[in-house]
């Protein structure tokens, strides 16, 4: 059992809406970025002197650039239907973790400075002045939002707290208050090409090691190519796939699928990262810069297709934003969508009978699937809406005999965040991450009891890392979490296609 200096919430028979506990998470805040992390991204190193003026000016700028922000700040009627939908509220009871209350932290300043009612009658409409305590509150509570968009599904106007928290983080960066975890990582991506700061020789070394491991395991010469010009496919995987468990078993799965399909592929040492943490800090320019690295890698390597590995927010950026940020991708083969998800690729091969899977290889597992928030609510797979729910499940069911879904109100578009998304996957936020995982743990406990589920598959690097960390707090072994392509990897029949 892991060491605990906070109370792990009790998992009940069913998910309860907690009593309000004002201030319960008031002290939760991630480490702040050092001046060098800030300045590397072009943000002020520390709190600027005229921060109040610059914060309001930045808000004005964002209101002109983002219709979502403008409409979502105006339209809320405080009906409260989002209030009990956020995993952080459900796990902590802190009322400021209700999506509407979180939005109000920014909305109150918007009303004071940008609406007539807020200028004339601030008390009446909940408008307030920007002071240092507001900044602290913003920093704390906008880093208790994983930008998972669950609230937006239930809002009658589609108000998306992710849009609000991205804007708030952008304003904070603008006045010199950045989050260390995200901003330090972005600096590494800009210089070394991945979140880990893994240099090209180390990456090459890791991949060679994997080739040897797979050879030993299977006897097959499965390649993990790096920087191969003229390959058919550029694979953009989250860098956690290169070293973390269970991520790496997923990477081995992708490699086996390419091997068996006979499709040439390559990784890029220049763009060795699918993740794009610029989305978490709401910064369009940074997000564009990271996306452009991938465009350049695809052009330099003269590939025909780009396929993205198992990573939730990366798939959001790739599916929904790449064409905008770094398109048009008219230099790629027009017969394939740009980009494709590795699940789409594998699913197509399974449907065509181009790879053979032996489900019995996974008979030691009883599997459920965790829909990752960004995949579920911000992207699609395949041609039809909802394909993002269907395709991964079909790949899993083709790879194993025992699959059981969790309760319907906890999967699909209503899926709960793992608790570690949106730039919160950092150790100092552990209490928040453990508590935020409660709704998922409750649903998992249910299928564990009812169907003897032993493993939970996911297609997101953050989900996998988060669950590896928090599962033990809820008395599940950390090996419960697996990659979807790990199941494929176990089941795939190498060299036996015909």
């Amino acid at each position: 059992m892991a060491k605990v200096d906070f109370k792990v919430p009790a998992v009940e028979e069913y998910l309860k809406t907690p009593e309000l506990q004002p201030g319960a998470m008031a002290k939760s805040a991630p480490f702040k970025a050092a001046p060098r992390h800030q300045e590397a991204l072009g943000f002020p190193g520390e709190l600027v002197e005229d921060w109040e003026r610059r914060a309001v000016a930045k808000l004005a700028d964002l209101l002109k650039k983002y219709r979502s922000l403008r409409v979502h700040l105006d339209a809320c009627v405080k009906c409260g239907s989002c209030a009990d939908k956020c995993q952080y509220f459900l796990g902590t009871g802190d009322p400021k973790n209700m999506p509407v209350a979180r939005q109000d932290l920014l909305r109150s300043i918007y009303r004071r400075h940008f609406t007539l009612a807020g200028k004339l009658f601030p008390r009446l409409v909940g408008a307030r002045d920007l002071d240092p305590s507001v900044l602290e509150e913003w920093y704390g509570y906008f880093h208790q939002c994983s930008q998972c968009r669950r609230c937006s599904v239930f809002c009658p106007y589609g108000i998306d707290t992710a849009e609000i928290s991205m804007a708030a983080r952008e304003i904070l960066d603008e006045i010199g208050i950045g989050q260390k975890y995200c901003n330090e990582i972005l600096g590494k991506v800009h210089t070394l090409g991945n979140n880990l700061g893994l240099p090209a020789p180390a990456l090459a070394n890791t991949l060679e090691g994997l080739e040897e491991d797979v050879k030993e395991d299977t006897g097959a010469d499965v390649r993990f190519p790096l920087d191969v010009q003229g390959a058919e496919v550029l694979l953009i995987a989250p860098s956690a796939d290169f070293f973390a468990e269970p991520h790496i078993d997923g990477l081995i799965g992708y490699a086996k699928v390419f091997h068996q399909a006979g499709v040439s592929w390559t990784l890029s040492s220049y763009a060795s990262e699918a993740a794009n943490f610029a989305m978490f800090i709401g910064n369009y320019e940074q997000m564009r810069k990271v996306a452009l690295r991938i465009r350049k890698a695809a052009i330099d390597l003269k590939v025909k297709r780009i396929i993205v590995g198992e990573c939730g927010h990366a798939w959001r950026v790739a599916y929904s934003f790449w064409n905008t940020l770094a398109g048009p991708f008219d230099f790629l083969d027009p017969r394939y969508p740009v980009p494709q998800h590795i699940i789409e690729f594998t699913h197509d091969l399974i449907e065509r009978g181009a790879i053979k899977l032996d489900k019995e290889a996974n008979d030691h597992m009883r599997v459920t699937f965790h829909d990752s928030c960004n995949v579920a609510r911000a992207t699609r797979m395949g041609a039809r809406p909802g394909g993002q729910f269907v395709l991964p499940r079909e790949v899993i069911k083709a790879s194993c005999n025992h699959f059981f879904d969790m309760a319907p109100e906890t999967i699909g578009e209503k899926t709960f965040c793992c608790g570690g998304g949106g730039g919160l996957l950092t150790d100092e936020l552990l209490e928040l991450r453990v508590k935020g995982a409660l709704p998922r743990m409750q649903a998992l406990r249910e299928v564990h009891k009812e169907h003897g589920v032993t493993h939970m598959a996911a297609i997101c690097a953050i989900c996998k890392s988060q669950f590896s960390k928090v599962l033990p707090y809820y008395e599940f072994p950390m090996e419960t979490i697996v990659s979807v392509h790990q199941l494929v990897s176990n089941a795939i029949q190498l060299g036996k296609n015909s």
Binding site: V71, K78, A83, A101, S152, S320, E413
Partner: protein, 247 residues
């Protein structure tokens, strides 16, 4: 011309002007502000027609609210549907001769009024009784409910307690429309009713009542899921250069 008529004529003209100009300005602002990224809440329709249908379901059936909270949905439907019926019923004061369907709607309008008041009481009850909703409520949230309740209750009072002279009231309304002012009936309940309607119109463009136009402009609901097929680029984003290796 009695001073009362002048006051009410000017009040109603003013309120209508604030409402029309204020809401138009807001709608213009929403329409002019770009949505630089594709952010529909998925699963989303993949065609424009599908999006029209999605927004229509949101506006007509409160689809997302239904997913979220059945009680809130019931009260919200009662209020909004009741209000719609009442507004249609009140059309008879604005047109001469009265259209056929407006005649048909008259009896339903009264039930609409009852439904509206009951829905508002339900919404007010939620706001007072549920700790989560009470926490997020500002004074203005209660005041708007009370204002709408005031409009509903004063309307009933006119119908059932202190009937006003409908013929002369209609003459007053038509007089406003055709700039040929006629005296307003000096029924205090009617005057209260009219004052509160004017207040609602004035408050509308400066309050959360902007959810009405807002729902049509919310990118999470009105965008097509076609990011891979169609490049979506806001004018300000198209201006960006540098910030990476230019390719």
């Amino acid at each position: 011309m009695p001073i009362l008529t002048v006051i009410f004529a000017l009040l109603l003209y003013g309120a209508a002007a604030v409402f029309v100009v204020g809401v138009s300005y807001r709608v213009f602002t929403y329409a002019r502000t770009p949505a630089p990224l594709k952010i529909p809440t998925m699963p989303a329709p993949v065609t424009r027609a599908g999006v029209v249908f999605r927004v229509a379901r949101e506006v007509g059936l409160f689809e997302s609210l239904f997913k979220s909270s059945k009680w809130t949905w019931i009260f919200a439907v009662m209020f909004h549907l009741g209000l719609l019926l009442e507004v249609l019923r009140h059309l008879r004061y604005f047109i001469q001769p009265i259209w056929f369907w407006v005649v048909l709607v008259q009896p339903f309008g009264v039930y609409g009024g009852m439904m509206m008041v009951a829905g508002l009481l339900g919404l007010l009850g939620r706001r007072l009784l549920i700790a989560r909703v009470r926490y997020i409520s500002q004074p203005s949230d209660y005041l708007i409910l009370l204002l709408l309740l005031g409009i509903g209750v004063s309307g009933f009072a006119i119908t059932f307690l202190h009937h006003t002279d409908i013929v002369s009231f209609k003459a007053f309304v038509l007089g406003l429309l055709y700039f040929d002012w006629q005296p307003v009936p000096a029924n205090p309940l009617l005057l209260a009713h009219l004052s509160m309607v004017a207040a609602l119109l004035i408050v509308f463009p400066f309050s959360k009542l902007l959810h009405a136009p807002g729902v049509f402009f919310s990118p999470t609901r009105n965008q097509v899921d076609d990011a891979r097929e169609r490049r979506h680029l806001a004018p300000w984003a198209a201006q960006l250069t540098g910030g990476g290796d230019e390719v």
